[in-house]
């Protein structure tokens, strides 16, 4: 009862603040308070409706529907990201389990982790001579570190009791990895995968401005058209998609939270 009321209240406050924001935006733009010709919220919403009502048209690379562009970006992210997870999890387990692997790989991880993945873009273009593969490569590099580091940390900080039980039963190394270590570090892996996905979604937009096609290129293209309202449309779509992706991982994390 009380909870229902507070939920409704929260919802009402959210709607109200959105309305106030839209009106303020419109007023500021209309009065030219910021800069001249700044698109107002009404124009942007009109644009949004136009783009969303027919999202999948294809009139050549410089005139794609926003849905088409979004799918192109999502596809690149999903491929690069999945490859990164496939590499990061086994490598993380190895680093967590073996002192040798840890001390031989950690310097590279520490050195490469702080580098913006965009620095790899020219390297990718030079090696692959293909913008599609380069995009996937950049996302791969982006996604690998958080998952790798979280996985390795999970293994290193695993409750020693689980390992003792496994050892006392005479379990083989592979049984211990598959049946004990992997399930035990699932929360760590998912936490890493969530951060990786968040970063990948940030980076793809920037990378695509240089690569052509995709939601990032859409922004670049609309900048060349000097159509700021379409850029706002892209920002809204990117934000919404990122939110959905993040919620998906939040849902998975709740499923694998053993403490509750």
């Amino acid at each position: 009862m009380n909870k229902a009321i507070s939920t409704r209240l929260t919802f009402a406050v959210a709607i109200l603040s959105l309305l106030i924001f839209i009106i303020l935006w419109q007023v500021i733009a209309q009065q030219g308070l910021l800069v001249k010709n700044f698109p107002g919220s009404f124009k942007t919403i009109g644009s949004l409706i136009w783009w969303v009502s027919d999202p999948f048209f294809d009139n050549g690379p410089n005139d794609l529907g926003i849905g088409t562009n979004l799918l192109i970006s999502l596809r690149r992210v999903l491929i690069g990201y999945s490859l990164a997870v496939l590499v990061a999890v086994p490598l993380g387990v190895l680093m967590g389990m073996s002192k040798l692997a840890q001390s031989s790989l950690n310097p590279y991880v520490q050195l490469l982790k702080p580098v913006s993945p965009l620095a790899w873009l020219p390297v990718g273009l030079f090696v692959f001579r293909n913008s599609e593969i380069t995009g996937i490569f950049v996302i791969f590099i982006t996604s690998i570190w958080p998952t790798l580091i979280n996985t390795a940390f999970g293994v290193a900080s695993i409750n020693p009791d689980y390992l003792r039980v496994s050892k006392s039963l005479g379990a083989s190394k592979s049984t211990t990895i598959r049946r004990v270590i992997l399930p035990a570090i699932m929360p760590n892996i998912l936490a890493g995968m969530r951060i990786s996905m968040g970063t990948a979604w940030l980076v793809i937009v920037a990378a695509e401005m240089l690569l052509g096609t995709g939601i990032g290129y859409f922004i670049w293209n609309e900048w060349n058209n000097l159509s700021l309202e379409n850029i706002f449309v892209a920002i809204i779509i990117i934000g919404f998609t990122g939110f959905i992706l993040d919620q998906f991982f939040g849902f998975l994390q709740d499923k694998f939270d053993y403490s509750i």
Binding site: S103, N159, D161, Y162, R164, V165, S166, K167, S168, L169, G170, A171, T175, R179, V180, P183, A184, M186, F256, Y258, S259, I260
Partner: protein
């Protein structure tokens, strides 16, 4: 009674179930990559040394000692979870090389896997030890042991849904399911309330009688040791802890919690244990 059984078993086979010879464990400091000071000097922490002990088949032995003296270390060595620095461990006449399903281990913190249900925790042990068994076989056997500790109804619950006592019963069922002939228990009831503890003590005794297992129990509680054991092993304070005394508990079984406390023999042993523990604990305090 204890003496008699040991004589009997030694006439059939000339070794005990478990024999420890000059067992010692030194924990060496992990060598840092760059550590100039400890160059070539492998100094470590000697937890236990020169442990000699014989435990007969199907007896119940408790190990008592001051906190931090090396009881868990000793148990881990017997379980094969750690390698001794010196000496050897012989089970049924064979020196052990590592852990094995002939020994069921029960840990202080239950050590149940939180991602598995109660029955799956037991199935994990069974699948690991008996990889040839069919799925149905494993399930049936897991059920049987859950029934034994009275937790049939909780078979599909996760550990977080169980009380501490229930978790420890699952851990006991898991350890017994692989049909070990030795149970190694590290303060299994330490974290439980008094009522649950006495209930589980009774359960353990009946399991021990029915299953023909040798039990090595580590405990802090003198009363628990006296109630359950055939023999109590006293350890000195560490570092370099040794076995300072072995006491046979010649009290008739079944032992009644209330009545036993009036037994003059019980009181005599209890006083001896208390005196020992007090002395050794004082020794710890003087060192630190």
């Amino acid at each position: 009674m204890n003496k008699k059984s040991s004589k009997k078993s030694s006439s059939i086979e000339n070794y005990s179930h478990l024999e420890l010879f000059n067992l010692g464990k030194i924990f060496f400091k992990e060598k840092k990559f760059i550590d100039f000071r400890s160059k070539g000097n492998r100094s470590g922490f000697e937890a236990i040394k020169d442990i000699n002990l014989k435990i007969e088949k199907n007896t119940f032995v408790s190990i008592i000692g001051p906190s931090g003296c090396g009881k868990s270390t000793l148990l881990n060595l017997i379980a094969g979870l750690q390698a001794p620095t010196s000496g050897k461990i012989v089970i049924d006449g064979q020196a052990i090389k590592g852990p094995g399903p002939d020994r069921g281990v029960i840990f202080q913190n239950y050590a149940l896997m939180p991602w598995l249900t109660t029955i799956q925790n037991i199935e994990f042990a069974l699948n690991t030890v008996f990889p040839a068994k069919t799925k149905a076989d494993v399930k049936e056997r897991a059920r049987k042991y859950l029934r034994m500790v009275g937790l049939e109804k909780a078979s599909n619950k996760f550990p977080k849904e169980l009380s501490g006592g229930m978790k420890q019963r699952v851990a006991i069922a898991r350890a017994l399911s692989i049909n070990p002939n030795m149970l190694l228990m590290d303060e299994p009831f330490g974290a439980l309330d008094a009522l649950t503890r006495s209930y589980l003590q009774d359960e353990l005794l009946s399991i021990w009688r029915k299953n023909k297992v040798t039990v090595v129990l580590i405990t802090h509680s003198i009363e628990e040791a006296l109630l359950l054991s055939d023999k109590i092993v006293l350890m000195s304070s560490g570092p370099s802890a040794i076995i300072s005394e072995e006491i046979s508990v010649d009290l008739e079984r079944p032992r009644d919690r209330e009545k036993i406390e009036q037994d003059p023999n019980y009181l005599k042993i209890k006083m001896r244990l208390e005196k020992h523990l007090l002395r050794e604990t004082r020794a710890v305090e003087e060192v630190t």
